[in-house]
Subunit: 339 residues, 4 copies
């Protein structure tokens, strides 16, 4: 049984609390820390059986009964808190992105190198989605052959509010970062080069923040495969999350999940349901599965499924994508090493 | 090259004329006869290169250059004209049903027994539909195993006018007769017993004609398989024509054909096209294919794909279905032998 | 918060225990009773936080802290235990079928009439399945119009062992009973008449037990709609659970659920996943939802979604189906009233 | 009735001959010219009722009874023959590409400017495909809203032989040229900028010819939409031809066409048919439709659906794509004006 402390009681912190409580057999949340916690949230947390609710995450780091912490605080604190937790001897699950700055991610990597027994996992939950995991499985089983073309469609149902866009690091570090990690996951490869063609088509207010809301991003993978991601901040039909991996022996393609399989035929046509609305609906089971695998790695000392390398790569690709937009040219990910 | 005469220039006669002209390489329509032909139809026929247009079908039967005739006149004349044609030494393609009376179908069978060189085909065109033919192919290849359950859905987009219902012989001999033949075709078997549960749900005027418009018909096949047909005279979404054959090794199921594969996703859902509207849209290619196979049988002396046995069986089953409704009990098809 | 006692710790008892523990917020399992309980099961139950594990269900009935019981014992005890529980002042959730004998179901109904505050729910979990519930919702919203034809496909992946068949009451009371209830649920109507065409096609050993393994069952609903159920004890591709409701304004149809949406295209074709294997995979969420609704009815005093009427009807229809096979004729459900 | 002469009796010339003979009511092929014609081909042509078969296309141009010519000769002769035909007063249907050299396409445009009554159509048949035409229709009807992202998948079942690659102008001018035109058609817009990420993954022999066999091509359309094309010279599952247009109000997506809708469920999964094998299977009806529309334009003097502008644009985009590969950068189509 792994005892867990959660640092940050925002939306994603609560998701993990519920996942562990209801869906992870060999773990137990002992404490939750959040400096801005309100009464309602505290009540919700206590109702799920958590013994300690506090404001200072250092109480968690100092608790010898706690084996592992989930870093669910704001992005700018991920790296620092993670390093403290590593040095306090805890296993760490850190939400994505680890940081917007590569040198701070490197500092986490350095801390991990000094603490080889620490299990450190990054929160790329989509790898655990039933559909995407099945594509990777088909690839691993040799049913696709050599990977030639990967296509990822990733469209949100609605844009975040403009204030959030400012602090989010922009679409590539906030939204596409999941797709960059997915590209690496599905092809089992890193990215060599990025080219972005982007636009502001959804909302001019996003452009006024210096960001884009629509993009086609081409990737050259280090294993030779080509990949393309298309992003939009608003699909009127809901959250559109698909992938298609094409190779020398075949193609694996996913469709969106829906609430039911019901199809209505009438004078207008033959109509099925829209995709599940957004990430909390679509990816809830994947949040549980990433927790299960993290807890298992902590308990058995086995490898985590998503380590610091993935956390670093995804941000590098995101920064390369930003530069591609600025300089309107293909950018090698290795150019970011000098950032 | 087979020279063909068409007897009857109504809707289905014109369909066959066009099929042969455009889609059958080794046949040519030399003459068309129809006592009620009008100028417009005559012009249409001549524009397709037909040399002789006449009122009396006996001109066709007497023409030594004509190898085969298509009997497309009204149902009550099918048997008599077919027998005359057989005796005149022509090959015969006869529209369905051969007749509503079993003794007249038997008379045709007797004429055929006396003229073994005559190729005689009945117009069950749906056997040549790409979807249904693919189900039978899968069955023949052993991919379904032993047949256990066959389901046929057959629903029209709109009911015929009440006047037609009166002369049509009722839903079972007019509409379901295609499905009875399909059940025999897809299971490669005859029918042993019929039970009908039916209702008037679409239009009370149909009930006033003594007919039904909605039915579920259970068949016990002679090979042991069970089959069920569901019929409606009105599906608001269009012509619904599907089959599903389930057996010991697997299931083959068809979907409806559509004008395009386009699917529109929006705030209402994910909407594909309705089925093709009615039989002229859905089955046009099957009409051409039945002609090709008939002409080939005439030319090579090979077997026709749908002979007098199928013509007889389908009517027997239809009559048994009518009796099942009247007597509200399962009826053996063999009971019809005494009709 | 509703305190629950579970009577019977077999497969379905454990399913409900887990559902309540993990998925029902306002309920708590306080006790489990099973005369044949073993150490392993007891450990499993205690690990889920259940305080009392006993052999005699009367301990549960006598516990004043327990508000509601789940009757998950063997079928032959359902009615007697339910009546005892009703008289002990407990709310009751009774697994299906309530009994094989109508008079014993009537005895339960009589007990309920004498205890109007008792909430009594029958375990027809499939009504809570996301797909079937969506069909009913479409019907309630008027999107189907008047119901004309209902089709239910219900096929198991493999037959039960022969010993079970003997005590199960036969396919109609064991397996089809769910489909009978589904027919009533989806058309919001009772059944007037039943006709069965059945066969032994899967395994002769089933026939030797006096049972059948393949059937097409036609129902005439009291609201005038027609319905058909097709059953098989073995579909090689897995658990096949579909429904299609066709009416004057449109059709709602469901497909099977799968583990993922992945489709592989290669030289063999375009291949998607098989249906989820069996009822524990397919219906797990529906088991949770029926518990949520039962607990809510207990807590609020509102109506249960599936009451004794449904429990009685489904068995009557099953008995009528058996008689239809024996006497090879359509049987009115009202004939069972005299049983 | 339009009298037609066909110049070039290769594969595509024969396709048009058959389309006109069987599927275009108001046209008639009077003559076919091909310097390399053999006996077998001549026989085939005569069997379809063509009166004149000759070696010199000038016989066709000089025949006053011929209203329109189809230029189906080798690509390097398209422009010169078209200009001769225009000057001879014929309407012209010219196969794609009009030429590999922009100045020669400009010469055709100049000839057309001098002969305003000439109907000149370019052979981008895919615009007439039922699926792609339905996407454009949905867009024209406002169901997609403003176009944001267009995705085209275009993969051949097998690469051409290496000798053909040499003379074809490379993948972008031979294969992708159809997709460039499709991008313009589906968004009703020209292309502003092209970026190509390409590779040799299918066959090293293609790389040895200086060509590529796999590519992801990003387009910026002049109306602001973004588009991406993915190409492969070999999809093991057959010809993959899909498009998806995403906009402010919805998305229209197509699937591949198949021989039948049959789906087989068994222990391996649920398997549908592969896409139709190649362009002759998939696009046969679109070849007929482009002929119908060309003939109608000739007969009525109306506008052709695909004129010299489309012929010019597609080659410009193809040349820009080639330069993007050579110089590894995004290339504006306007840069080609100076070629």
């Amino acid at each position: 049984m792994i005892n867990i402390g959660i640092i940050g009681a925002g939306r994603i912190g609560k998701v993990h609390l519920q996942s562990i409580t209801y869906h992870v057999k060999n773990a137990c949340v002992k404490a939750v820390a959040d400096p801005y916690i309100n009464e309602e949230t505290e009540k919700l947390i206590r109702n799920l059986g958590v013994q300690k609710v506090c404001r200072d995450y250092k109480e968690i780091l100092g608790d010898p009964e706690i084996d592992a912490v989930l870093v669910c605080s704001s992005t700018d604190t991920h790296a620092a808190v993670s390093i403290e937790a590593i040095e306090a001897g805890k296993h760490v699950f850190c939400e994505k992105p680890v940081d917007h700055a590569l040198e701070r991610i490197q500092a986490v990597a350095d801390a991990l190198a000094a603490h080889p027994d620490c299990r450190f996992q990054v929160g790329f939950n989509r790898r655990f989605d039933h559909n995407f995991a099945a594509v990777r499985k088909a690839y691993d089983e040799g049913r696709i052959g050599e990977a030639h073309i990967l296509k990822i469609t990733s469209r949100d149902p609605e844009p975040p509010n403009p204030a959030y866009i400012k602090v989010s690091g922009g679409m590539f570090l906030d939204m596409t970062i999941h797709d960059f990690d997915m590209a690496c996951f599905l092809t089992d490869s890193d990215v060599e080069e990025v080219y972005v063609q982007s636009a502001v088509l959804v909302d001019p207010a996003i452009g006024e923040q210096g960001d884009v809301d629509t993009a086609i991003i081409t990737l050259k993978m280090t294993n030779g495969a080509l990949a393309v991601i298309d992003n939009s901040r608003r699909a009127v039909y809901g959250y559109d999350q698909r992938a298609e991996l094409f190779g020398s022996k075949g193609m694996a393609a996913t469709a969106n999940d829906t609430l039911s399989t019901v199809v209505i035929s009438n004078g207008e046509g033959v109509t099925g349901e829209k995709p599940l609305f957004f990430f909390l609906e679509r990816y809830m089971e994947s949040f549980a599965e990433e927790m299960r695998q993290f807890v298992n790695a902590c308990e058995t000392g086995g490898e985590v499924p998503v380590g610091i390398h993935a956390g670093m790569q995804s941000v590098k690709i995101g920064l390369a994508a930003r530069r591609s937009v600025e300089e309107h040219r293909p950018v090698k990910v290795s150019e970011m090493d000098a950032v």
